[in-house]
Amino acid sequence: MSKKTSSNRKTGAIIGLCVLLVLTIVFGYLGFNGMPLDGRGLYRLLPWMPTTNAENWPESLALGLDLRGGVYVEYSAQQPDEIEGSFDALMDGTIAVIQQRLTDKGYPESTVQKINNGTGIRVEIPDVTDPQAVLDLIGTPAELSFRDPDGNEFMTGKQVQTASYFFADGDHQVAFTLTKDGAALFADMTAKSIGKQIAIYLDNEMLINPTVQSAIPNGSGVINGMGSEERARTIAAQIQSGALPLVLTQQKVDTVSATLGDEALSTSIRAAMIGILLVMLFMIIRYRMNGVVASWALCIYMLLLFFFIAVIPGIQLTLPGLAGIVLGIGMAVDANVIIYERFNEEMRAGRPARAAVRAGFKNAMSAILDSNVTTLIAAIVLLVYGTGSVQGFAKTLLLGVVVSMFSAVVITRMLMTWFVKVGLNKPSLYCTMKNTVEEEQK
């Protein structure tokens, strides 16, 4: 009877190990090669594991500026005396304008964010070849253009004298007056275009294209339907000053060339790979069978970690982020080491392997939990208080700790239990039977 159940257990464990092995191999293959099934009605699975070849970098893994090359700028913002309206609203307007400009000029992946409690702006622009041109672009005055029914520009912001925000008929509007020659041009054009549409563009964004009802001779006009007060004020300020609503001063500029980024990327990935192989070697020498378990769990950990980095939006791989991953590997191995040391203690005390697995986990769990929670605390504080690359590091560290907990508690445990059930339960497979600790206790 007992023989039968034990052989049942053995079969179960073998099946379990085989399934996990197949899963690891399949998942690993997909991780490096992806599944190109597009065009057949199936979704496409992109590869997500990093490579040392920066040119063949998997597109699903977003790279930070330091690895990809690009420009990072921090500005402080001041409100000019002549501009009215709340600072916060103008700030939002400024951010929207910068974002719009960068998108228009071919940098759609740029991010523009508030920093320092909303008193500054951070702009990150990847893949830039001429940093100074991009920086100039952010600072250039807004271009206002009036276009005739055929889409040709007949007047620019130079002919605008004043622009101001006002609220009427339940609508946020911008009123403008034109200079003398502007008024003449405008009167002429409106007279020619009755019944047709003329348009006003700001930085290539169409603000309004009203149908002309009658000629407008007095050189003043209204742009209505602005949607919100914030938008109307921003546009009024832009037309008035011809620049951004707020005055921006550069506080910090970081530019990284793409070649430097590529080099940083490939060397760190190579270093990480060598590091991981050495860790596996060390673990196998030190913990024998359990070292094999640890190495396997580490492979699964890497596959899962990069999978999450690829699919969770907003996580970018940065240089410190890579170091966070390397550290995460350390943490994942740490949990394993704690378990194996406990397991070996039990084995040396003469317990059977299965009981040793159970006791090892039970004893190790509190230490693993407490040490991971304290690391989580540090990672969360970093996430909340850090900026830029430090935040990128915090995200990968956070993810690393969570995945390493999973790998230590679930994967390692499964593997150890199955290994023992399969019959790999001789103590000499796991540790030397030195009893130094035990003796000292007595």
């Binding site: 060339s257 390397v326 080491v337 040490s371 850090g386």
Partner: protein
């Protein structure tokens, strides 16, 4: 040697290192601040042929600008230039004037790699952010450990953290000729805050367990035994983590090195403090804090 003496010696050694670093800082040999903290401008040029440092320096002298120039690269054909205290408006003019000035002797000069500019405000914000993140993280950990263990463990662990952070700062002073402090140092510091506490926790976990097993033993004996029992784990973990970080340090580019070296120092300091200092500090604190409570505690356990 008794645990007490050993821990005292270690504490003294640590304090000596801190004092040495402090004295060096007071004499102007403090942390080598990168532009992230100090503010200023850094740029790199590739010159097309071997560079004489004085050629580059002369150009800046001509412009009346105080610039620190280092020659780099395998062929000694790259220069790294750092200028402190400049206004934003000047960043572009300085670059232009430098290229104009140097291109007589080095016609192939091209900008290479990074050009960074940091205003004085940004550096200060960074510092205060860093300071507060460490304080907040430490406070939260103190609370967590106080709940999971006891207050003296929390305090001892956080003091251990403080030790490790100070040690990292001290080594930034001692290694000032090979490493600069930039914003990644903050990430490194917080990594250590999160990581090196693991060693302490694992040992305190053992202490917690051994206290229950043998309630009669005095604290120092329990600490000594717990540290010994955990030594295998502590060493193996430290070795595995160090393997990967050292690989990064050896192979990595400059910005990775700037990050990896403080982490290496922090990890080593963490192992050292967890094994040699923190347990003893806990024993002392717990003894002082629980005078009067002790009889209760023993009864409860019995």
């Amino acid at each position: 040697m008794t645990v007490k003496n050993r821990s005292r010696i270690c504490l003294t050694v640590s304090c000596c290192i801190f004092v040495l670093a402090l004295v060096l800082s007071l004499f102007g040999l403090g942390i080598n601040q990168g532009i992230d903290f100090a503010g200023g401008m850094a740029m790199q040029y590739s010159m097309g042929k071997e560079v004489a440092q004085s050629d580059v320096e002369d150009v800046f002298k001509g412009m009346n600008i105080d610039a620190a120039v280092t020659v780099q690269g395998a062929n000694r054909d790259e220069v790294n230039i750092r200028i402190k205290d400049i206004a934003t408006e000047d960043v572009q003019t300085i670059q232009q004037r430098f290229v104009e000035g140097i291109s007589e002797k080095y016609p192939d000069v091209t900008q290479n790699g990074e050009v960074n500019y940091v205003g004085p405000v940004a550096g200060r914000t960074l510092l205060s952010n860093a300071f507060w993140s460490v304080v907040i993280a430490a406070a939260l950990m103190l609370i967590y450990i106080a709940i999971r263990f006891d207050f003296s463990s929390g305090l001892a662990a956080v003091l251990g953290l403080l030790h490790d952070v100070l040690m990292m700062l001290a080594f930034m002073v001692l290694l000032r000729s090979i490493i600069q402090m930039n914003s990644t140092f903050i990430a490194a510091m917080l990594t250590i805050v999160g990581y090196s506490i693991n060693n302490t926790i694992v040992i305190f976990d053992r202490i917690r367990e051994n206290e229950k097993k043998t309630p009669g033993d005095d604290r120092v004996t329990i600490v000594n035994r717990s540290v010994k029992e955990c030594l295998g784990r502590t060493l193996n973990t430290t070795i595995t983590t160090l393997i990967t970080i050292v690989a990064l340090y050896i192979m990595g580019v400059a910005s990775i090195k700037e990050f990896a070296l403080p982490i290496i120092v922090g990890i080593l300091s963490g192992v050292y403090s967890a094994n040699m200092i923190n347990g003893y500090v806990w024993a002392m604190l717990d003894e002082k804090l629980s005078v009067g409570k002790k009889s209760k505690k023993v009864k409860a356990k019995a």
